[in-house]
Point group: none
Chain length 558, copies 2
């Protein structure tokens, strides 16, 4: 069906306001600007940027945004109805709001009698007057006024007459939209349906839905409300938000576009969804949850050999939608359950076609299975899988050879502890010569607060002399898993290390019955992966090898 014939649902993003309430998340002003630009490019309709009266950071954000307005979305400021027993023009929050210069405002007001009398401690009539006078005052001062009926669904259950009177007051005063809020996130879909229909019967102003996820029903409740006539969905990227979060727009939007008869984003924009999900996770400084529907790393991951061979025959067998539609990738994981089809699929992603080479495919599969039987786990360690494939295919260069290491850890009775590592390793002769060193062997030591840090530092000290490009590599995560746990401390240890050079991220794995030996293997793979990647990009761009480049770097330094 063409996009034009579908009904439009307005997308109101509140990642920067409600999403910023997530425990442990603190966006800087720069983060907020970056996210706002990303959301604008995605094509949402409203971007709620914050509550200008509540904190200086939000004031600064709106101030910065004045300098370079959004190209498509309406930047929206959030605020409450005026304070009780006060003229609206005297309310400081409302005055600050009017100074933001944004086109749209979202004003929240109470619609649950309990909140009016117990939290606000005022009369039901005064609350209605607060709603009316605030909306009337703002009318003409902003292009769009959205009234957020806070706790509408709980209010409807407690006193439906009053809840409906509140939204009627907002409608009569001139609100352009009324968003019905399930603020506590406790409503069931059947309750949303009834209260949403009652609101639609009462006012002609278009309605929206603002759902929280405290019953793990925020996405379903948003869909139910749309089914009952709501034409705006409020939510956040990745479902960020206070407590259990808000409705996750990364699930609501594809559900409406791919499974419902609605359009939310401009044509062709849905495939930017995975990108925006990662951008917000990064700004929030948290790993993007793997399990996220549509946009998560595991959303289209296939593990078992039976699943993989079925997906190769017809991806519909185990995929509810195609990953490309939302800009995500199919991940075929390599695990002990894998068949040849997993290996073919994976090496294809490395640009190697082995479909006519069953012998080498079987060789890689055999190596994977042998290592996995020893405790390796390539599912999350793509970089180690790439190195394993290159080793099996005979295409991996020899970058260095370990001659030995020693790690010493001391602890004293007073609780102080520290570690020292010593490493002896050799690089190929041509590497040392091209770097201007006659001795290809390096033997050095470094210390650290723990043994793995000491080992990491000593290894870099050895290698950076010959390969200065490794200076850009940083470890971003270090995970340890004990495998045959019943064996206690004498168990196989699997270490997974994530690294980044500021551009790419990769993960490597090492296994040993010695945790330091396992860490060593994962550390080495991480650095070798970087060297291999560097060699390949130089080859593609027609440049020389790393050693030659190193020579230039060395010459420039001296």
């Amino acid at each position: 069906m063409s996009n034009a014939s579908r009904e439009k649902i307005m997308i109101f993003d509140t990642t920067l306001r409600d999403g910023a309430q997530t425990r442990g998340v603190a966006f800087s002003v720069e983060d907020k600007i970056r996210i706002a630009r990303g959301l604008d490019q995605l094509g949402v309709d409203f971007i709620e940027g914050g509550w200008p009266g509540s904190n200086p950071k939000d004031v600064a954000f709106f101030h910065e945004m004045k300098k370079a307005p959004l190209s498509r979305a309406s930047l929206t400021a959030f605020s409450s109805t005026r304070m009780k027993n006060m003229a609206v023009e005297e309310d400081a929050n409302i005055r600050t709001l009017c100074e933001t210069g944004v086109p749209a405002v979202a004003i929240f007001g109470k619609s649950w009698d309990l909140h009016v009398t117990e939290a606000l401690e005022t009369s039901l009539d005064e609350n209605l007057a607060m709603v009316s006078s605030t909306i009337s005052y703002l009318r003409g001062r902003f292009e769009k006024i959205i009234f957020d009926a806070e706790h509408y669904f709980d209010g409807f259950k407690a006193d439906r007459g009053y809840a409906l009177a509140v939204i009627e007051a907002a409608a009569s005063a001139g609100a352009d939209w009324i968003a019905l809020c399930d603020t506590n996130g406790g409503s069931l879909p059947s309750e949303i349906l009834e209260a949403q229909e009652a609101a639609a019967a009462r006012v002609t102003v278009p309605l929206g839905i603002h759902a929280h996820n405290d019953s793990e029903l925020a996405v379903a409740n948003s869909l139910v409300a749309v089914g009952a006539g709501a034409r705006m969905v409020q939510g956040t990227i990745n479902g960020l938000g206070e407590r259990c979060g808000n409705a996750n727009l990364c699930s609501v939007i594809p559900n409406l576009e791919l499974k419902g008869n609605f359009r939310c984003l401009p044509e062709g924009q849905l495939e930017k969804l995975t990108h925006i999900s990662h951008l917000v996770s990064e700004a929030a400084n948290r790993s993007q949850p793997d399990w996220l529907p549509y946009v998560g790393r595991n959303a289209f991951a296939h593990k078992g050999g039976i699943h993989v061979s079925a997906v190769r025959k017809n991806s519909r067998c185990y995929e509810h939608v195609s990953p490309e539609l939302v800009g995500n990738d199919r991940i075929v994981t390599i695990s002990e359950l894998s068949g040849k089809s997993n290996v073919l699929e994976k090496v294809k992603k490395l640009g190697i076609d082995l479909s006519d080479d069953p012998k080498r495919t079987a060789g890689i599969l055999k190596a994977v299975k042998e290592l996995e039987a020893r405790g390796y786990h390539f599912e999350g360690a793509d970089a180690s899988f790439e190195l394993l494939s290159a080793r099996e295919l005979g295409t991996l260069k020899d970058y260095f050879t370990l001659q030995g290491f020693r790690v010493l850890t001391w602890a004293e009775g007073d609780g102080k502890s520290w570690s020292e590592a010593t490493i002896k390793a050799a690089v190929p002769e041509e590497v040392s010569l091209s770097g201007g060193y006659s001795d290809p062997v390096e033997h050095t030591s470094a210390d650290g607060s723990g043994p793995v840090e000491a080992l990491d530092r000593a290894l870099r000290k050895v290698l950076e002399k010959f390969y200065p490009v490794l200076g850009t590599v940083k470890l971003s995560d270090y995970k340890v898993r004990i495998l045959n746990e019943e064996a206690g401390t004498n168990a196989t240890t699997r270490v997974m290390i994530s690294s980044t050079d500021g551009v790419d991220h990769w993960t490597t794995v090492g296994v040993s019955d010695n945790i330091l030996d396992a860490s060593w293997h994962a550390l080495c793979d991480s650095l070798i992966y970087k060297l291999k990647k560097e060699d390949e990009s130089r080859r593609h761009s027609g440049g020389g090898s790393i050693e030659e480049d190193k020579e230039v770097a060395y010459a420039a330094q001296n």
Copy 2:
């Protein structure tokens, strides 16, 4: 409403089977047993333990479970219908299944024509015969047979006649339950409703629902199915599962019990829900997601000042249910993270009543908070909490003092590696004298395949000389988690060690930026806990202290 007048919904937990498919999760046999016991205590009806034909670990799990059956739940084995064109009694998987000795089986069969013809590559009739003959064969061999109609909802959309024919075949062959599966997780609630109603109109066998979360609708879809007559919900703790996970029982159960007219668990068991959620996260070696509805750390966390004051006036203002109902806590501000009531509750479990001693209660609370701020985690480490309380109350004896340790790890170029630990420690003079030793200081070394094993061996070598009872202690599990992951190898490390003396099991925790130092603290706590326990049981039975007993043992040896 009393529990008895509510309709019962069977809870079918598949954490150990579908949940074990989560990318990055690998349960050991011991983990699986611990989770099964926890689920049994919670009061679920069916515990699906694995697929015995698919891997040796699941075979070992069912074998172990034979020795100590569950007290309430039906342990369930998973398997597929027989292979195509084969007699059911010749199918090796079915034979393995019959050897498990469990009371219940869940058999999955295809109900989507696409899967029959494209994935299974057989005829629609043969698939019906596979369903019938498998169920007929198992009837009488098991107390309960559940038929999982794989891809039922996709099958219903594609060819409803065939999907219904499949479940009819299962019903006629004698299945006790038919669970309709949204295997790809792509169905909308309206689609679930229609297909569930059509199934209910076709068969009289009771129906279940098995939903996946690929559209973030698994919980809602489970509720819709129950509304349409389903009387079994299949799901996992914390929503673990392949891709985006399965329906999260920690949300489904309280939604049905607290908001619907249903009962799922025996009376009074709902408040164990938060505990089981943590237990599964610990076994999976992942942090419990903070955002989880009902059971997550943020589910009842209040951040904004307005929220906090409103919650103090009336908790209903911003809470959809009371946290105690599901065994969770309200978190109001960081400083109130764990209240005194937690501490009182916890030490009461140790047989100490501090309700009239606010000063010492506050002392323990302060110590817990200081340690938790450094990365300690007492939720899963009761033994370390008990030692902390005893230290704060001044009741912990001094068993030994570390003077220092040193751990050395070598690796050679050929891949060989080994470790050696040296420890110097002193016991109180009366302990050494009562053991017949004039020198209370012991200084000795031991080796191991890794540094932690070497440390463990050396520590025992030091202490067993003075406390031979420690010879019965074995480490049963060793888990490591890195806390501030962005710091890479220089991150805080938390080690949790589980130990057993063949009778009891206990867990201890150690934290340090040095993994060996963290291991040292957890190892020491484990052995001190055993010594303390031994002293107490001797005191209770009117016997002497460990040292006295040791003297006897020593005399008997010589």
